[in-house]
Structure formats: C-alpha cells, structure tokens
C-alpha cells in the first residue's frame, strides 16, 4: 500500500468531515468565546450576604457618620450615614477612599524593629510581646536615670480617650512633653482663652447665617467639617445667602461664593479690621457683646482708616465700605477665618480680628452666629498619682517651650520641636512617640524636621501606614485602622454642639496590629508601679465603656451622642490680641521678589493620612501630571520669567528648592505663586510616593509674636526657567 498524495488528501478530508460531525469545533468555539469574555485572571468579587455597618470616620477631624457596605466579611463600600447630624448621607472623597487605607499595600502589617540604617526601610517582624518589651525597657531605663522628661509624644489630636491615654501615659511616666500637631485649633483655643477668658473653642452656626464673610476659609475645600460645609454651601445657594470670599487666590470656595474679594496675601486681618473700623465709625455695631471698645476705638480708627487699609490689602475703598455695610446690615452675619482647611495654627491677630468682627456684628451666641463653647469633658479619670521620678520630670520645662515665658498661654508648639531638637532646646530628646501624626511630611521645613528626627536616638511610630515618620522610626507598633477599632471621636470642627461619634470595628483586624489604647495599657502594666496603677483597665474597650458611662448605650445604638444645649464659655468678647504686627512672609523682597502660598483642596488630604489612589486619580493634571507638581503662576509673572504653560521651572525659597511645572492661572495675582499642600510624599506606595512637591520643604515656620504658633501663610520665592 502506497500512501500517495491522493490518499493523504482523502485522509484529511475524512478527518475534516469527521471533525465537523463531532462536537470538537463547536464546543471549542463556545468555550473560547466564554474564555475571552471572562478572562479567568480578571478578579471577580465573591458573592455573599450584604450588610451595612455604621461607624464614624476618623480620617479628618470632621466626624462624619459612615455606613460601610459589606459582602460577607469584606467591606466593599463606604457611604455617608443617612440621618447623621453632621453629614446626613453625604461623604467626601477621602471618606469614600477609606477602604484603600484598610486593604491597601501601605499598611504596617506587624510590629517591627529596624535592622538597617534609619530610612533604609529594613525591618524585622517581631511579636507584640517583644515590641512591648523593647519599648518598656527603654522607657524604664531612662526614667530610672531621672530623665523622664527627655521622652516626648506627638499626636494628631488631644481629645478623646486614646489621646488622653497618651497624655496620661506621659504624666505617669513623668514627661511634660505631649504635643499635638499644629492646626487652626491652636489659634482658635488661644483666641477663645484670650478674648473670652476661658478654655474652649468656637462653633459657627453656618446653617442659620444669612451673610457669610469668609477670610480665606476653604468652605468647599475642606474647612471645618468638610461634608457639613458642602451641605451648608448648598443650603446658602438655595436660600440665596450672600457669601463673600476674601482670598488672594481664586479657590473653589472663591469660585462658588457670591463675591470673591481678592486681597493681598497675608492682609486678611487688616481687611477685617478695616471693615470693623468702618462699622465703628458709622456706628453700625452692636456693643452688647464687646468689652474694651472705648479704649480700642481710637487705635482702630487711627490704624485702620479705609484708605490705609485699601492700600495694605489691595481692596478698593468702596469695596471695604460695601462689605462693612453688607455685613453689619445683614440679619445674621457671620465671619469665618482659618485659611484653607486651617492646617496651620495662624496668628492670634488674624483670628482675633475676625472674632472681634463677629462680636461687633452682635452675633455672639446668637442664631447664625459664633459660639465660644467648652470642649466636651466626659473623660473623668482619677488623677495620676505621680512618684518622685515623675514629679521631677514634670517640673522640667517643655521641650517646645509652650506654657511658659512668652508662650505662657500656648498649649503646644510642635512646630518648634525641630528647632529644639536641633540644638535650641533646653535638653536633648531621647525618645519620641508618634501617634496619628506624620511630622516628617506635615511639619513646615521638612528637612529640618528630618534632621531633628535623625538626632533623636529612639523613635516609636504607632502609625498604621508606612509613612515618612514611620520610615524614620526604630520601632513600629502599628495601630488598627479606624475600620478595625473602637474609639470615641469627639468632634470640634466648628460645630455649635458638643458631639461624640463612635468608631467601631466594621471588619476584624486584617493584620497583626493592635489598638493604640491597648498598646499603652499593656506597656504601662508591663512597666509596673506606679505606671500600672494609672492604667487600671483590663483592656481598652473596658476603659472606653467606663469612660463613656451613660453615653455608651446611646453611642452603641445611634453611633453619635449630641449635646445641643451648652452654656457658652463667655458672652462678651474682650477686644484684645490685635495690636501685634502682622506676620510677614519669610525672605528678603529683593532676593525673593515673588510670594509662594500653599493652598488646600478637598482632593488632597493634607493630614497625616496619605492620599488614597482614588483621590490622586481625581487631581487635575494642572496640579500634578505624572510625577510633576505644578505651581500656579499669573501669566504676566510667567511671561516676565520667560515661562509658558507646562514649562519646567526651578522654584526657590529661603528654605529650599524644587523643580515644578508652570500652570498659568488668571485667578492669582501677578507676583504670587500657589502650590497644593499634601503632595510630595516619599513614603507610602507607588500611587503616592514621588508625586508632586511637598510644600512644607519650601516653607518654614514663622512664629506668631503673641503665641509662638506657626503663623506662616506663605514665603518669599523666585521662579526661574529650569
């Protein structure tokens, strides 16, 4: 039998016929189409039971209620909680992105100790017992030498049980050095103390005001409790409330306002006092809520005559008169202050001028007005019994200088920490504990801060994330993220009520992390008496439940506890704090002819929480493009420097230098530059690290002469072709 070509062809034809009559081609066709429509490697979320669990967001100080949608045990979406007194179903972009904090790759997954050089990122996983042992041995050793005061702690907040446990830990240990990261709260508390004579904070009844005069406050850019402010802004639109935004730059808040009043940078207080002077001179004021007007009046009228103010602020004299008339003539006028999100403390003069304006308009403790109210004081623990070592430590001056000498009224001065550690402090620091704070990114003059951190022999980070400060630490004791833990969340953020939210675990801890409260209690117990005695609770949950007492049940049921009727801490404003000189931007005008201003946006976090990938995706490519950050420049200024849209430029300030791209923007004055705050991370993941420039590397702190707070609102700069 010879297999020739014909036979072969016959075989093939037979094979083809047989194949066509078999299921093979038809089934393969079907399967390959199913395969190509549903690639097996495409992730498909597993199905399961859908439930919602309510909690409180702690990613910013806003205190919004959240409802987390879960499928079985996975959290899949965060929504605003319906009916919540702050946000009633609304949520901001940061709150929405919270799951990326929970499941993202930047979590610190276990306690770790540094094994390489500082900043190399070489860590060794250790057990919690070992981590507690390392910490407590170090602390006991220092304390036994009578150097307890050389241990400091820096935290993002000082209210609520967890910050209170840190403060208690420091007190029992014997260190006066508990610091809160700087924010507008610092100046607000100081102003309430100075102007009303009592400890407290301000609340603003924005919903009921009918004329808003905002001195740079980012109403839709994240000021106060952001979602509450969005809602207020919508409400104002519906009610046709006049909103005047006084700001050097056309921010989103300025764009949404009824009227934008561009003002020379740093002269907002001058304008406020100029408006006050017009109101006083024309007798358009309510004297019922102010003290000391008679002696203040002549200074005010002399120093803030309209023409003079017009020259300082760049606002036309008739506009000043119009603003005064509009503000004083409104039924329920309200002035707001704190630039952007009020991320820096600011000067007492800036804030006192605006509060005085409110008092002169007669809105103190009125509907739609400003309310100086006490902070919630539900944490009633018995006093710490300090031993000799602790008392000796506590009698030492604070390393940041707050609370003594010329800063007697100031509680915290974290912005002075770097300077103190770098050689200007009363003593060197041996240990720094960092909780809910990222000073190596968020404090001004970041290089100096990092230099200072490099000098501190032992740094402990309680951060849940591999942030810039954790990178400088020696020991990582990661806290749960907010979706994994119980915590009381006292909300200040300009609310007129006292409100406490409850954060509760929505999912079980994803990694080998531990609640910071738990870590502190177990560390104190491990240190023996008298530390252990100050922490009598078995665990944090017991501590929380006992502390909240009768509020606990309400919080478990409603997620929030509200006290609406509060006695204000004062009803007359003592006119004071406004005679200091205006804080000037650092730098020589001749060498640095331009002014650089930081600006805040709701799309960037600016706090210790790094931006989630979701957020970065929403930032316009005129803010960051690829890894390049932009600086906003007036076309006239850009032309003079020979720069066009998108050009690379070198931005230099007395504190640093950065390569940036130019964004031509008509909404900023010639000679002024603006750059977004919150970028330029070096830590975190590829979604965030290396994106844009950290403006804190270009700006240094400028001390407010009245308080020592960082009052820098910008810095002198130059911009040249790269």
């Amino acid at each position: 039998m010879k297999v020739d070509r014909r036979s072969f062809l016959s075989f093939v034809i037979g094979g083809a016929a047989g194949t066509a009559l078999s299921p093979l081609p038809w089934k393969l066709m079907d399967d390959s189409s199913i395969w190509s429509q549903m690639w097996p490697w495409t992730p498909v979320p597993p199905d399961g039971e859908v439930v919602y669990e309510d909690s409180t967001c702690t990613l910013c100080p806003g205190g919004c209620g959240i409802s987390v949608r879960k499928v079985d045990n996975r959290a899949v979406k965060i929504e605003g909680k319906q009916g919540h007194p702050i946000n009633d179903g609304g949520i901001c972009i940061l709150g929405l992105s919270g799951l990326q904090m929970l499941y993202g790759p930047t979590r610190v997954k276990s306690p770790m100790k540094r094994i390489g050089e500082r900043g190399d990122g070489q860590w060794q996983k250790i057990s919690w017992d070992e981590a507690i042992a390392i910490l407590t041995e170090k602390l006991i050793d220092i304390r036994d030498k009578g150097e307890a005061h050389t241990v400091a702690a820096i935290a993002g907040s000082d209210s609520g049980t967890v910050p209170a446990l840190i403060q208690r830990f420091m007190t029992a240990y014997g260190s006066p050095n508990f610091m809160r990261t700087p924010s507008g709260r610092d100046a607000d508390e100081l102003a309430v103390n100075t102007l009303f004579g009592n400890q407290g904070r301000t609340g603003f009844d924005v919903e009921n005001a009918d004329y808003i005069l905002s001195f740079g406050s980012g109403i839709v850019d994240g000021w106060g409790s952001p979602v509450r402010m969005f809602r207020a802004s919508s409400l104002w639109k519906d009610k046709k409330t006049t909103v005047v935004q006084v700001e050097p730059r056309l921010s989103n808040s300025a764009a949404k306002a009824t009227r934008w009043v561009p003002v020379n940078p740093g002269t907002e207080a001058d304008l406020a006092l100029g408006i006050a002077a017009v109101m006083v001179s024309r007798n358009m004021i309510d004297t019922g809520a102010v003290s000391g007007l008679s002696s203040w009046k002549s200074d005010l009228l002399a120093n803030y005559a309209t023409e003079k103010v017009s020259q300082t602020t760049g606002v036309a004299a008739e506009v000043i008169a119009e603003l005064a008339k509009g503000f004083a003539g409104a039924n329920r006028p309200l002035a707001l202050c704190g630039r952007g999100k009020a991320q820096t403390a600011g000067s007492l003069r800036d804030i006192a001028a605006v509060y005085a304006l409110n008092a002169l308009a007669g809105n103190i403790n009125q509907e739609g007005g400003m309310w100086p109210i006490p902070e919630a004081d539900y944490i009633q623990w018995r006093d710490v019994a300090t031993d000799n070592l602790a008392s000796a430590g506590l009698s030492q001056p604070r390393i940041d200088g707050a609370g003594a000498g010329k800063y007697a009224q100031t509680r915290y001065l974290a912005s002075r920490l770097a300077d103190a550690v770098n050689g200007n402090g009363p003593y060197p620091l041996q240990v720094l504990l960092v909780a809910s704070a990222n000073p190596c990114h968020d404090l001004p003059d970041t290089q100096r801060v990092k230099e200072a951190f490099a000098r501190i022999p032992f740094i402990v980070s309680f951060s849940s994330f591999h942030d810039e400060t954790a990178a400088m630490a020696d020991l990582l004791m990661p806290d749960h993220v907010y979706l994994e833990r119980y915590e009381d969340v006292p909300v200040d953020a300009g609310l007129t009520q006292q409100m406490i939210g409850l954060s509760r675990p929505v999912v079980s801890p994803q990694f080998n992390t531990r609640h910071l409260g738990e870590t502190l209690i177990s560390a104190a117990k491990a240190m023996g008496e008298p530390m252990a005695d100050a922490f009598p609770w078995d665990d944090y949950e017991t501590c929380l439940e006992e502390t909240l007492a009768e509020k606990w049940d309400t919080l478990m049921e409603d997620g929030v506890w509200v006290q609406a009727d509060i006695d204000p801490v004062g009803d007359r404003l003592q006119l004071a704090g406004m005679d200091a000189d205006a804080v000037q931007a650092e730098g020589d005008v001749n060498s640095f002819p331009l002014l650089l201003l930081p600006y805040d946006t709701i799309r960037l976090t600016s706090g210790y929480i790094g931006e989630a990938p979701f957020m970065i995706k929403t930032v316009a490519d005129t803010v960051i493009k690829g890894n390049d950050g932009f600086v906003e420049v007036n076309p006239q200024t850009a032309r003079a420097a020979g720069l066009g849209q998108g050009d690379m430029a070198t931005l230099t300030t007395p504190r640093g230098e950065a390569q940036v791209r130019v964004h031509l923007f008509e909404g900023i004055q010639p000679g002024v530059l603006a750059m977004a705050r919150g970028l330029g991370h070096t830590a975190y993941d590829a979604f965030l690290a290396g994106k844009g420039v950290n403006i804190n590397t270009l700006i240094g702190p400028v001390e407010d002469p009245s308080s020592g707070h960082d009052a820098a609102w910008g810095i002198r700069a130059t911009l040249s072709k790269a």
Partner: protein
C-alpha cells in the same frame, strides 16, 4: 518554456501512463479507506478523547449526603438554601449555618469527622465547589425564578436533593466553569430540563413563558440585559 514547465509536463505524462495501466480502481479503494480512517479518527478524537482532555475533575472537600439532610429538615431545600431578608439567595450554606447543628460530630462517618476536625473546630469555611455557578457575565436572580415564577428547584438543579454523596466536580479547562453548565453530554443534548444550563436553555423557557418575557420591543422577547448586566 522554462525548465519548471518542462518538468511539470513530464509529470503529467507519467500520470497518464499509470492510469492507462489499469491500477485506478485499487487506488480508489485506498482513497476511500483513508477517508474512512480520517473520518473515524477524528470522530473518536471529537467524541471520546476531546471531552476527556477538555474536562478535569476535582473532589469536593468531603462528601455531602443531601438525602439524609432533607429528611432531617422541615422546609426542604429552603431549610439550608434560603432567601435572605433582602431577597438575595444564600446559595451554598456558610459554616455558621452548619454549626447550628454540627457543633459536635453528628454520626460517625469519615466525612463528618473531616468536617468537624478541619472546618468546624478550625472555624474555616468549607470551600465547596459549586456545580451550577453561571459565568460572571450572567446575572441570575433566584428570587425571580423561585418566588416570582414559582419554579421548583428540580427544574434547573435536578434531583441533587436525593443524592447520597457528592459526585466529583468537573470543570472546563478553558473556561474554568463547571461542566454542568454545558451539560454532561458533549454534544449538548439534554433529556431533562436540568441536564444543561446554557443560555439556550434559559431562552427556551423564557420563550415558552413568552407573555411576560418581552422586554425587547424589537424582538418581542427578553432583551440581552435581562441576564447580561
């Protein structure tokens, strides 16, 4: 004329010579034989070898006796495969449901021991392999069919409730989906309504109950998006 053309001509001449030798009928027989061989081989490949290559098998974590459980419960299939309050279907029971009865071993079978030791005490979910999971592009609502159309579970799932042990889970190597979707018959023939779960099978039933299934104005049948979201 080129050299190639000449060669070709020679070849044709050769062919003509062979033909005149009278061997053509024998060659024709070979041709048919080869046709048959090719045909038979491809039929064997397509009908016998191909299914074996296409499908792979996995065993369930342990064998489950449906018949035994159905006898014990009051509410038939819905005792374990129930609808949640929001109308969604619970599907394969979670460990929490099983442990309502199985906190301790019930009975002394090997499978029971595996279940209690490896899953109940370890608090691990049993990784059951679902025979009737539709591809991800399909949106299937049990509520619409069982509660809405009052269909019996058997219509699609057959008599699985009477099974005494778990059969092996067969899955398609290309698509990774269960063999039950295409059906056990490789040609796609079905005797019973539960033999296949392909789109055609859905469409057949939807067409029969045509009155309410006319979401597409053009075709007066159900539109694609009824099942493909």
């Amino acid at each position: 004329m080129s050299t190639l053309d000449e060669k070709a001509k020679e070849g044709m001449d050769d062919h003509a010579t062979h033909g005149s030798d009278g061997k053509q009928s024998g060659a024709g027989g070979f041709i048919i034989l080869f046709f048959i061989i090719g045909f038979a081989a491809s039929m064997v490949l397509g009908w016998v070898i191909f299914p074996k290559l296409l499908y792979s098998q996995k065993q369930q974590p342990f064998s489950f006796n449906h018949a035994l459980h159905v006898e014990e419960v009051d509410d038939g299939c819905e005792s374990c495969h129930f609808f949640r309050e929001d109308g969604s279907f619970s599907g394969t029971p979670k460990l929490a449901q099983c442990t309502e009865c199985h906190e301790e071993p019930m009975g002394d079978t090997e499978d029971e021991a595996i279940f209690v030791e490896q899953y109940v005490t370890m608090e691990r979910e049993v990784p059951w392999l679902s025979y009737s999971r539709q591809p991800d592009c399909v949106f299937f609502s049990h509520a619409a069919h069982v509660i809405g159309a009052k269909m019996d579970c058997v219509v699609c799932h057959g008599h699985i409730g009477e099974s005494e042990e778990s059969r092996p889970y067969e899955y398609n190597r290309i698509t990774t989906y269960s063999r039950d979707i295409w059906g056990h018959n490789i040609a796609g023939f079905a005797k019973n309504s539960w033999d296949r779960m392909k789109m055609d099978d859905c469409a057949r039933c939807h067409k029969e109950a045509g009155v309410i299934h006319t979401s597409s104005v053009q075709t007066e049948r159900d539109a694609c998006f009824v099942c493909h979201k």
